[in-house]
C-alpha cells in the first residue's frame, strides 16, 4: 500500500480533547465530528485540510481519553495516515481497530516539515520525502496488527476468528 499526500505538522502530546473537544461528543456521526477536527489547536483546520493529507506529529499523539471519535474525526476529515514519534496506547488501538493507518518513526517525526509532500510505503515501512529528497524508516508494524489490517479491522477479524453466527 502506497500513501501519498501533503503534510500538516503538529507538536508533542496532542490530546484527544484538542483532536475532538468533548462538547461535540453528543454525536457519533463521522461527518459532524470531522467539522471540528483539531479545533483545540487550529480552529480553521477542518476548512484547510484536504482529502488525502497526512498528519506528522511528535511524541504521545492521542493521549487522554479513550474516545474513538478522535480517529473517526481524523479519518472522516480526509486524513489518510498519521506519522508520530509515539502514540498514546488507546489511540494506537483505536486507529488499528478503525482502519486508520498510523506509523511510528522518530526520524520522520523530526525531519518532515509542514506542507512537505511525502509517500509512505506501508508494506516496506519506508517513508519518502519528495520535497526534501529524503527517506526515513518506520518502526515495523507488529504481526498481529498486520493481521488486523489485512482482515479489515477488529470487527471483521472478530467475525473470522470466532466464526460468529447470526
Amino acid at each position: 500500500m502506497l500513501i501519498r499526500g501533503r503534510v500538516w505538522r503538529f507538536g508533542n502530546d496532542v490530546n484527544t480533547d484538542v483532536i475532538i473537544p468533548a462538547r461535540y461528543l453528543n454525536t457519533s456521526n463521522p461527518k459532524e465530528l470531522a467539522m471540528h477536527v483539531m479545533e483545540g489547536i487550529d480552529r480553521d483546520f477542518s476548512h484547510k485540510v484536504k482529502a488525502g493529507d497526512i498528519i506528522v506529529t511528535g511524541k504521545n499523539f492521542g493521549c487522554g481519553s479513550s474516545r474513538e471519535h478522535a480517529p473517526i474525526a481524523i479519518k472522516a476529515a480526509g486524513i489518510q495516515a498519521i506519522i508520530a514519534k509515539s502514540f498514546a496506547r488507546i489511540f494506537y488501538r483505536n486507529a488499528f481497530n478503525t482502519g486508520l493507518p498510523i506509523f511510528e518513526s522518530s526520524e520522520a517525526s523530526e525531519k518532515i516539515e509542514e506542507a512537505d509532500e511525502i509517500e509512505i510505503d506501508a508494506n516496506r515501512g519506508v517513508i519518502k520525502n519528495m520535497t526534501r529528497q529524503e527517506e526515513y524508516k518506520a518502526n515495523p508494524i507488529p504481526k498481529f496488527m498486520q493481521e488486523l489490517i489485512a482482515a479489515g479491522g477488529l470487527v471483521e477479524w472478530t467475525k473470522k476468528k470466532f466464526k460468529v453466527t447470526s
Binding site: D13, A22, R23, G40, K59, E68, R93, P142, T158
Partner: protein, 419 residues
Amino acid sequence: MTITEKILAAHSVKEEVSPGELINAKVDLILANDVTAPIAISEFKKIGSKDVFDRDRIALIPDHFTPQKDIKAAEQCKIVRDFSREYKISLYFEVGRMGIEHVLLPEEGLVVPGDLVIGADSHTCTYGALGAFATGVGSTDVAAAMATGECWFKVPESIKFIYYGKLNKWVGGKDLILHTIGDIGVDGALYRAMEFDGETIGALSMHGRLTMCNMAIEAGGKSGIIVPDSITESYVNKRAKRLYKFYKSDSDVRYAEVHEYDCSKISLTVSCPHLPSNVRPAAELFEVSIDQVVIGSCTNGRLEDLRDAAIVIKGRKVNPNVRMVVIPATQKIYREAMKEGLLDIFIEAEAAVSTPTCGPCLGGHMGILAKGERAIATTNRNFVGRMGHPESEVYLSNPAVAAASAVLGRIGTPEELGL
C-alpha cells in the same frame, strides 16, 4: 511474575506470560458510557453476533452528558437504553440509579480483586486500586468483547513506584499521583503498568488508592495497580458481588523502572495548564485568581473527598467572585453526604450541589468556562479547552485545596484558613 502478569496469565489460561507477549484474554467485566457505548453498539451489530457473551458482565452507564443535557445527548442515551432492553443487560444504570462509572462499580462490588476489566473510558484504570487489571480501550474493542467475552492485549512491562514517609497535613492520594506524573511526564509510563507500593500506600485508605490508580492514564500508563491487602479486604468483603482473588507480585520480579518518593517532602500539589504533568506546589500559586471551583469526578467525587472539602468550607462562604459546584459521584454518596450534613455545609457556603454526572470535567455541562475564565478542579485533565472555551484554564488539585481556593477566590491552601 508481577501481579499484572499473573492476572493476565490466569485470564488467558496460561501458566506464565511475559512483557511484550500478545494474548487473548477472557474479561470479567466490560464497561461503556453514553459517549462510547453508541459506537460500540453499532460496531457490535456489524459483527452480527446474535447475542452478547454474558448479559450480566456488561455495564452500560450513561454518566457523561446525563441527566440528558440536550437532544443529541438524549438520543445517544436512548441508543444505550434501547440496546440494554433488547439484550437484557442487567448492569444498565438509568439516571436516578447511575453514578460516575468508576466510582459506582467499585462501590457496588461489581469489580473485585483479581478481575480483568476493560472499559471504553480511559479512566477504567481506577479499579487497579482493588488489585484488578483494568484498562481503557476503544468502542470497537468493547464491541468485539461484548460478542466474544475476550480482548487482545500486549502484556505490559511494569514500573514500580515506592512511596515512603509520613504524609503532610491535607496531602493525599491526589497529591501523590500529581507529583508522580510531574516527575515522569504525561508519557512517562506509556504502554506500561504502574504498580504503586511502599509503606505510605500500605497506610493509604481505599479512596486515596482509587484516586491514584484513576490517574495512571495521565502518565500514559496502561494500568495502575496496588497489591491487595487488609485495606482492600475490608473494602471489598462487604461489597463483592462475585468471588475474588488476591494476587501479588513475586519478590524476584524485575521491573522496567523503579521510582522512590519520600512523601514527607511532597507538599499540596497543583497541576497547572495545560498538562497534568505541569505541577507546582499549591502554596506557590497564591497569585492565581479563579472563577470556578469543581469538586467531583471519578478522581475525587467520593464521600471522603466531600468530607475533606466540607471541613475546609464549613462556616465560611464561597468568595463572591467565585462559583463552586459540588458533584457527589453516585446516588449513595449523595445520600450519605446529605445524612452527614455535608450538603448543608456546601449550600450554606453558597455552593451549588449537583446530581451525579461527569459534567464539567470534560466540558460537557454543569459548569462550563467562558473565554478567559479559570477553574481549580478535583478532576483529572487540564488540556486546552477541557472544561469549556479553548482560552479557559483548568488547575487540578485535591478537594481540600479546591475548597480553600473557593473561599480565598484564588489558589490557596487550608493552612491559610488556619486549618
